[in-house]
């Protein structure tokens, strides 16, 4: 038995920013040897984005970058130089997988696209992930994941009303696409193990993300209905939403509540109005017909309550509830702690730094954050020395020539 699922799998990883690195992280945390190929001439934008160690911008000090690149090694190559491309081709025989997330023309220009690489190594698995995919009129569109969240419809279904949009935070689709690209990549590795055949994976982040809107697409194509923002209204639960509890100092505290049954509603009223004899909105029909009045009632009753205590009381009574947690709360959450979610890893430049852990746990071959993210070019000597048998002097010369750069 192997300690990790992907022990012995080798990945040359050109990806950058979010989707690609989060994808290859699944392999790296589960034992694959993943080498990130970066360049000082074309730095991964996440190295230049916060949060930073001590709040100071530094290419080796970004936790944004670090979070997505655990358990990987890092080398630098300025791929615009022919000598760098030659070194990459010398590494190619070692690799099971090559991954990249440039706009489609980049690798074609370097003659390192799948057509070229598979001619050298037919059993190669190659993953290309970009915003719109490798073909189509918009294939060269370049942008960030927050723009993709707008293009792929998520901005249009979030807000208080159709006229008051409130988009999801950040590059939302960057956290949908990797789940699909990882599935494709792992299944392709399995297929290759069984058949000997490699293949090319053309992943459009747009097309992956739309799977999270599939019911709305089905509905539109069949009925013409267009899904729109509706605050926290639901056709399944009433009450359903976030209600403000007692503030804690300057911090707003909110509780999310979803009531599905009459029994839950009765139990909730008992907690919010102990001893009261009447039962307003006793039936589901009344609750759904008077959602605004219902929200006002719940909002008034919840406003003075302490959020953690109220959550515990409601859950004890069988009502779905939880504090609406801010990013500080997450670091003190007892359920995440019990799942052993947070980890402090000792980064080469940053020292001990906070990392998100895995979202799942395997009983027999668990993955883990094997080591913190690499600094830029941290493993140049190791990789070029051990894998390509280059001497220190050769490596130093190529650094001097800004090939290994």
């Amino acid at each position: 038995m192997k300690r990790y699922a992907f022990e012995g799998i080798h990945v040359l990883d050109f990806t950058w920013y979010g989707v690609g690195p989060v994808t290859t992280k699944y392999l790296a945390d589960n034992g694959a040897d993943v080498i990130r190929i970066e360049s000082r001439t074309r730095v991964d934008g996440l190295r230049m984005a916060p949060p930073w160690k001590d709040g100071k911008p530094d290419l080796d000090g970004s936790q944004f970058f670090a979070s997505y690149n655990t358990s990987k090694k890092g080398i630098t190559l300025d791929m615009s130089k022919p000598k760098a491309r030659e070194l990459f081709l010398r590494l190619l025989p070692w690799a099971d997988v090559v991954s990249e997330s440039f706009t489609p023309k980049t690798l074609r220009n370097w003659e390192l696209d799948y057509a070229h690489l598979s001619a050298i190594k037919p059993e190669l698995i190659m993953l290309s992930t970009c915003m719109m995919g490798q073909s189509g009129p918009h294939r060269d569109y370049a942008g960030f994941g927050n723009l993709m969240a707008a293009i792929s419809g998520f901005y249009s279904i979030a807000g208080y009303s159709p006229d008051e949009l409130c988009p999801p935070y950040g590059a939302y689709t960057d956290f949908i696409a990797p789940r699909f690209s990882a599935c494709a990549l792992i299944a392709a590795l399995d297929y290759k193990r069984r058949t000997g055949k490699g293949q090319y994976i053309d992943m459009s982040q747009y097309e992956a993300a739309l799977h999270f809107l599939a019911p709305a697409m089905v509905d539109y194509f069949a009925s013409g209905r267009v899904l729109q923002p509706c605050g926290n209204r639901s056709e399944r639960y009433a009450p359903h939403g976030a209600y403000r509890c007692a503030d804690e100092g300057e911090h707003e505290r909110w509780i999310a509540i979803a009531v599905a049954t009459d029994e839950q509603w009765t139990a909730m009223l008992e907690i919010l109005r102990p001893g009261a004899s009447d039962r307003p909105f006793a039936s589901a029909a009344e609750r759904f017909a008077n959602v605004s009045a219902l929200d006002d009632l719940v909002g008034g009753l919840v406003r003075g309550r302490q959020v953690e205590e109220l959550t515990a009381a409601l859950q004890q009574a069988g009502v779905a509830a939880y504090p609406v947690q801010n990013c500080m709360d997450l670091h003190h959450d007892p359920n995440l702690e019990a799942f052993d979610f947070w980890h402090w890893l000792d980064h080469a430049k940053m020292g001990p730094s906070p990392y998100e852990g895995l979202e799942h746990r395997l009983s027999r071959t668990p993955g883990e954050l094997r080591w913190p993210a690499p600094t830029l070019g941290q493993h140049n000597e190791e990789i070029f020395g051990e894998l390509l048998g280059m001497s220190r002097a050769e490596i130093a010369e190529l650094i001097e020539q800004k090939v290994i750069f």
Partner: protein, 418 residues
């Protein structure tokens, strides 16, 4: 079309909305996914919106996320039910479930028992809050997962309620993660033939959507407040959604990586005589140099507010389609806010033949699904067929896999086992 990628593997799908997407992804990749649901149907079949009425009423959620699966009905609370599931599990490679903790164990169907009858089995449990913490038995709804994982707090305006999306998302993240983690366990099985128990933590899956915000409080001392259509991520209160003639455009008027885009936009406004003088001043907006933004004075930021107003006035004269054309032509870092209707008509998706039509539950319903989540050269993936009716494949599955004859099936029906 059924993909060759995972052809020959079988998954038993006992998951509700916390894991339905897992089996869908497996079906798209060619696995034989058998949805095992109670005789009244999986709870996902009662998720609105619906198509059709009465007996023909079908949930769009079920139509979308059960496509390409087979369905058998099975009452696990009946005396014979658990035995049948164990028999099915002997023929399976994967099982995914999302029952309340302890339920399957109480029916003699926990991982330990399943492992005895099929040591190869990968048994994946999706849990709302993990299996060990104080919330391991908590009640759950999608909005609760969204709140617990931290995304809800970021959506909306300060002082007003935090928001979820009109298409709930938390269960989808967990379902997709269940697919990835099941495949990781599958790859490990390739070396020694042994399965394992996989536990997915839905709350953690939502935390993973928070991008760079998770570590902000620890490294920068504070957490992000929600800020409506304004970005809070780069220090200033900058608008990210602008109105246009027929909807909204997302973009950012900023320096740094956005400077070429900002200048290109101002250039476009200039061509059409819509750029106010202060936008055209020599040297540009003071706050838009890379360092200028960090050092911007209140006056500089006021100028940026005015710039945003001018941009919105300009965009109000353009349609989404016109703006998109210029985004592509002028390489603007901006995007139209697409509605579901826009997605259905998008030429990029058309060119890549993305949407796939499958047979509907009634002749007048054409069911169109998102297509391949990626294009694989050797083993194309994508929707494998329509969504099954409850128990549609009882005869086929119980007959072929377990060798039950018509008489035995009738007996199981009589005892309300299937």
């Amino acid at each position: 079309m059924r993909s060759e990628l995972l052809k020959g593997y079988r998954m038993l799908d006992l998951a509700d909305e916390k894991g339905a997407l897992c089996g869908k992804i497996f079906a798209d990749m060619g696995a034989d996914v058998i949805k095992v649901e109670p005789p009244e149907g999986c709870s996902t079949r009662r998720i609105p919106p619906f198509l059709g009425d009465g007996a023909d009423r079908r949930s769009c959620y079920a139509l979308a996320y059960h496509a390409g699966k087979r369905s058998v009905s099975l009452n696990l609370d009946s005396p014979e039910g658990p035995k049948l599931l164990l028999e099915l599990a002997k023929t399976a490679d994967f099982l995914v479930e999302s029952f309340p903790r302890g339920y399957l164990e109480s029916r003699g169907l926990g991982y330990d028992r399943m492992e005895q009858v099929n040591p190869r089995l990968i048994y994946t449990s999706v849990t709302p809050f993990g299996d060990k913490g104080p919330g391991r038995d908590y009640q759950w709804a999608d909005i609760i997962g969204w709140a617990a994982g931290g995304m809800m707090f970021q959506m909306g305006e300060e002082g007003r309620p935090p928001l979820q999306m009109a298409q709930p998302q938390a269960g989808l993240h967990a379902g997709a993660e269940a697919a990835v983690s099941s495949l990781i366990a599958h790859y490990a099985r390739g070396t020694d033939g042994r399965g394992q128990h996989v536990v997915v933590d839905l709350q953690a899956c939502v935390v993973w959507t928070l991008m760079n915000e998770q570590a902000m409080p620890l490294l920068h001392g504070d957490y992000l407040r929600r800020s409506g259509v304004f970005t809070g991520a780069i220090g200033g209160r900058r608008k990210t959604v602008f109105r246009c003639k027929d909807g909204f455009i997302s973009g950012l008027i900023a320096g740094g990586a956005y400077l070429p885009s900002t200048n290109a936009l101002i250039g476009w406004m200039k061509e059409e005589g819509a750029a106010p003088d202060f936008l055209l001043r020599e040297g540009g907006l003071k706050s838009l140099t890379p360092s200028g933004f960090m050092k911007a004075t209140a006056e500089d930021l006021k100028e940026l507010d005015l710039a945003e107003e001018a941009v919105e006035r300009f965009l109000m004269t353009k349609t989404k389609a016109e703006v998109w054309e210029n985004i592509l032509k002028r390489r603007l870092l901006a995007a139209p806010v697409a509605t579901v209707a826009d997605l259905a008509a998008d030429p990029q998706l058309k060119a890549r033949e993305y949407f796939v039509e499958v047979e509907g539950p009634a002749a007048d319903h054409k069911i169109v699904l998102p297509g391949a989540f990626a294009k694989l050269s050797q083993t194309p993936v994508g929707p494998a067929g329509p969504s099954p009716r409850i128990g549609e494949h009882n005869e086929e599955v119980y007959g072929q896999l377990l060798g039950l004859n018509a008489e035995q099936l009738q007996a199981l029906r009589a005892t309300h086992t299937i």
